[in-house]
Point group: C2
Amino acid sequence: MAQDASIYSLTTPAVLIDENIVDKNIARVQKYMDQAGLKARPHIKTHKIPEFAKKQLDAGAIGITCQKISEAEIFADAGIDDILLTFNILGDEKLAALKKLHARIKLGVVADSQTTIDGLAKTFDSSRPLRVLVECDTGGQRCGVQTPQEAAKLAKYIDGQDGVHFGGLMTYPLPNTEDDVETFFAQTAGLLKADNIECETFSTGGSPSLFAAERSTIANEYRAGTYIYNDRSLVRAGHCGFDDCAMHILTTVVSRPTDDRAVLDAGSKALTSDLLGFTDFGYVVDYPEAVITGLSEEHAVVDLSACTDKPKIGEKIRIIPNHTCVVSNLMDNIYVHMDGEFDRKIEVAARGRVW
Amino acid sequence: MAQDASIYSLTTPAVLIDENIVDKNIARVQKYMDQAGLKARPHIKTHKIPEFAKKQLDAGAIGITCQKISEAEIFADAGIDDILLTFNILGDEKLAALKKLHARIKLGVVADSQTTIDGLAKTFDSSRPLRVLVECDTGGQRCGVQTPQEAAKLAKYIDGQDGVHFGGLMTYPLPNTEDDVETFFAQTAGLLKADNIECETFSTGGSPSLFAAERSTIANEYRAGTYIYNDRSLVRAGHCGFDDCAMHILTTVVSRPTDDRAVLDAGSKALTSDLLGFTDFGYVVDYPEAVITGLSEEHAVVDLSACTDKPKIGEKIRIIPNHTCVVSNLMDNIYVHMDGEFDRKIEVAARGRVW
């Protein structure tokens, strides 16, 4: 992108999104899912913007994934009518909100305990039971039942309640653990078959090893978020190249205290402290040898010692973040462009929706 | 705090602020500054709330510190009329905003380069020159001139321009480097005296070693932010105890996948990934032996192996964050209480103001 592109006139820090790259990323992944025979259910955590979710649906996604009710409400308000909430919903206020949401869209949730299911079952009834998937821990060590036996037991428990309907199995796997997912799902399916319980959906996900999804013979739904923008972590994972990263953070060099140090006007409030295994805080597009060694809230400190050319005070430079989703959550707006020509500002409508 | 306190009925995750502790923290630090003969100029980055800045001013602060223009605008709108912007302001749009702000309040900024000063000097004029402090790097290795000689040179440069007025020296030091600050300031003051340039303000800051501020014989202004809420990093620094931490993040246990693992509904979108040298992500008030080993965006994974009592699914537990300021930036609202009794919700008015 040339330094005289109109996007460089924006006040910094600003999150730039190249819409051409967004469209290309969506098309690439949807085509892959179609060929692999998987239903795509993109996770909106990455963009948090209804307009972009609609692009994903228009391309062929069957619905979206949200993590929190207050996010799902934003997307339902925007007319999106098929949402899977991949979260254990607990507490009276949330259950009441869930009931309202269920009344107006096709809704599913996940559960990994009888406690969660009991709350759901008392909230809904047989006139319109809620679809509940059992969350399985296939190695991610976050939520989820630990064994196929537990998964089958919980599925049976759901099947025995009026207010809820067993919808299938869901996992958020670690990258490159397709075989573990396959084993867990297949063993659970075997146990369920013995109990005459139908398992409609086998849902897996994650962007880093997305292009290995075809290896599964049992998964039929795939949830991924980051692929729409891509980021430095997905470049490292081999999912894409830097040219496929739609999000750049435009920053200004505000200080050059020494020959080897630049300071930018974007700190952890713009880039976040997420390292995701890196030891520095983003990829400096315009000075690839530069290393962002530290962040405070409003400043990035950059080591220029490996750079032959060095940026001047006042110069604007772009950064590809380690982790794009968390950047979206910090910003009220993003700035959409096409190859550097500014097009429009979009509100990040579901930013900061934590419950 | 008893589990039946009204604050426990709030939907999670929620940021709780105990107003009694806020008031005590403000009073304690203001009293110290008064005794040490230092003018307090609190940094609003920690709370981002005009109501709390007014508490600090009512206690005796001379003004506030902001990092960005868009933050300062929020506080000026709320009636606060003395603001120091500790940032190099560059770029036409920001300079225009700065000019508008300067027209209505007592404003100061910092600069560490001729480039920054040239931009300021062309924006303002002798009818109402802008107060500019020279930012000095006394070891923090962020922004700032590197030597007293450079500081004096830049002060002289400011002194030679019509649009700007030399206001003094400013540093953001590392903790426990009071002697380095003293040396830098004193040497610069000596050089300025030889040039007959008056240095009104010697401004230093930081919460971790705030109670060593009295050691300086030359600093006359102190900027600190975190002390109003305190956090785990300040407990470690010896500044306060856990009972002095006004901010708790109220969370719900949403999963207990194994006997030793709990998962909370607060991830990096509530606690942030800021480690500040810790290896885990916060102090679990209700289960001090619990260790928050990992965060994803909406989940915290907690190791309970050292706990004798273990929380149940649906139970609400409180966390003191590693770094309180970054949590405020994630939240649209905070929930103010007095010893557990909910009082009011306050908008975090200057949240997300990145430029």
